[in-house]
Symmetry: C2
Subunit: 313 residues, 2 copies
Amino acid sequence: MTVIALDVGGTSMKAALVPAPAEPGAGGEDVLASESWPTDRTDPVGGILDFAAHMAARAKALGRPARAAGIAIPGIVDEASGTAVHAANLNWRDVPMLHLAEERLGIPVAVGHDVRTGGLAEAVLGAGRDAGDFVFVAIGTGIAAALILGGGTYPGVSGWSGEVGHIVVRPGGEDCACGNRGCLETYASAASIARRYTALAAVPAGHSTPNGSVNVRAEDVIARAGTDETAARVWSEALDCLADSLAATTLLLDPGLFVLGGGLAQAGPALLEPLEARLAERLLFRPAPPLAVTRLGDRAAVHGAAILASRLL
Amino acid sequence: MTVIALDVGGTSMKAALVPAPAEPGAGGEDVLASESWPTDRTDPVGGILDFAAHMAARAKALGRPARAAGIAIPGIVDEASGTAVHAANLNWRDVPMLHLAEERLGIPVAVGHDVRTGGLAEAVLGAGRDAGDFVFVAIGTGIAAALILGGGTYPGVSGWSGEVGHIVVRPGGEDCACGNRGCLETYASAASIARRYTALAAVPAGHSTPNGSVNVRAEDVIARAGTDETAARVWSEALDCLADSLAATTLLLDPGLFVLGGGLAQAGPALLEPLEARLAERLLFRPAPPLAVTRLGDRAAVHGAAILASRLL
C-alpha cells in the first residue's frame, strides 16, 4: 500500500509517495517518488491541495494508488480535528485542512504539526529510536521543539507545546518578532545568526563582503568563527542561548536525549561539541542529557507525515 | 480499610491515617488521625521508619489496622523502585526506602516525590480536579514543580523533572546554592524573599526591625509591599522571576492550569493577581493558562501519599 506524505512547513513544500506501513522493518525509509513545489503565498491552502492531488495522480500512474495521506503543517495545529489554527508565515486562520484534503483526495487524511511530525519520525525511524522520552529541537528560520513522551508526540493542552524559540534567555534583550524581548530565536535561529553577524560586521544584506560572500548564512558565520572575531562572538552567543534553553528544558522535563534538527543541525560537531560543554556547565547538580543530530535531516517531517498516514490504515 | 500517609519533605514530618480508597467520593479527604513529628536530623531514615511504625500502632489501637502506606520524600526519588536517591537537606544517598518500610511495617508501601505527590493530590482531590494536564508549583523554602500529564505525575526519564527552581531567570545574577547564578529560587522562594529584604533593608536577621518584627518572613515582605519601598522592590522582582519561569513553562509544555502551592501560596490574591498580569504580559502570541492556589495547602503531599497507598490495595 502507498501513502502520500506532505510537509508544507518549510520555505518550499515537499511531498513523497511512501510504502505503508511507514514503520521500521516495513520499508518506512523507502520512498517511491518525491517532489518539491514552491509554497503558494497567495493561496497556500489551494497550493497544498493541488500538490496533494498531483501526488495522488502520480501514485495512480505508478499503479500504486494512495490509500491515505499525511500533511505536516506549521504554526498552531489542532491535530485531533486536523485544523490549521494559525501560521504567521502562511497567513491562515482556522482552516479545516483535514476535511478539505479528504474531500479533495477521497482518502483518509491525518494532519500534524510540522516540528512534532518531524520529532515523531526521529522517534520511529531516526536519532530518537529506542531513546525513550526525548525532545526534538528544530533550529532553522525559527526554533521550535517537539516533546516525545511515551512514544508519541505531546501537543500540550491546546496544541501550543514546544515553543522554545520564545523562551526569554536574555531579559530586556533584543526585540523579537513576537513582540517580546530577548527570546531564544532572536539570538540562535539560523536567520538570527546571519542577521546579527551582518549587522555587527556592517555587511549590508545582499551585498558583497570584504571577502566576497553575498547574503551571509548561518553556516558561513559558523565556518568563520575560528578566524573572525565578530563571527566568533555571534556564534558563541547563539550557543550560550541554546544551552540556556536546553538547560531550562532539562530542569523542567528531564528528557533522556535532545535530537537537534533544522538547518543549523547540518553544522554537526561544530554545533554538538560546544553545546554539550555549555549545557553541562549549566547543570551543576544533575547529569546533562546527551545530544544528537537528526538522522532524517530536512526530510524528518515528510517521514513523519508518512507515519501519520500509514497509521490510518 | 485504612492507610498510613507520611510526608517527610517539609521542615517537620507529617502523618495521617486515612480511610482507603483515598479518592473522591470515597472519603478521600477524611482523616482518622494526624500527627506531626520533628525531622530526625541525625538519623532521618530511622526517624521516618519510627514515625511510620508509630502510626501503624495507632491504627491498630483504633481497631482499624493499616493495610498499606505511602511516603512522600524530598529530593531525587526513583518512584519505581522506591529509592530515596538524594536529598541535600536530609543528607541521604540511595536509601531503599520502600524496602525498609515494608520490612518494618509488614504491609505494602509506595514511595513518591513530595512535590509530585502533592501535585497528584491536587489533581485527584484539589484545585486541579477535572483540569486536564496542569503544573503544580510549590513555592516554599525552595521552588519545585510537578507535571500532571494524562491524570498522573510525570517524573521525567530519571526522576528529576520539575526542577523549575533552578531555571536561570537572571543570567549572571545572584549566587544560588546549586552553584549556578540567577536561578528562580534565588529571587522568588519564600526563604529568598525574606533574605533579600533583610539584606537590602539592612535588618540583621533575628533582630528587631524599626517596627518591631523579628526574623522577617516572606509574608511580612508581601504585607509591607504597599508602604515600604524595599519590600515593594523585593516582592516585585520575585513576581517578575516567577512570571518568567511560568512563561517558559507555558511555552514549552502548554499546560491547562498552574496550581500554586507551598508556603507562599498562602498570600492568595496578593500572589495570584499580580502574577496573572505579569504572565499575560510575557505571552504575547498565545493565551496564558489560568492560575489557581492549592486547595489542600500544606497537607497536599500527605493526601497524595494516602492516594499512593490506597492504589496499592
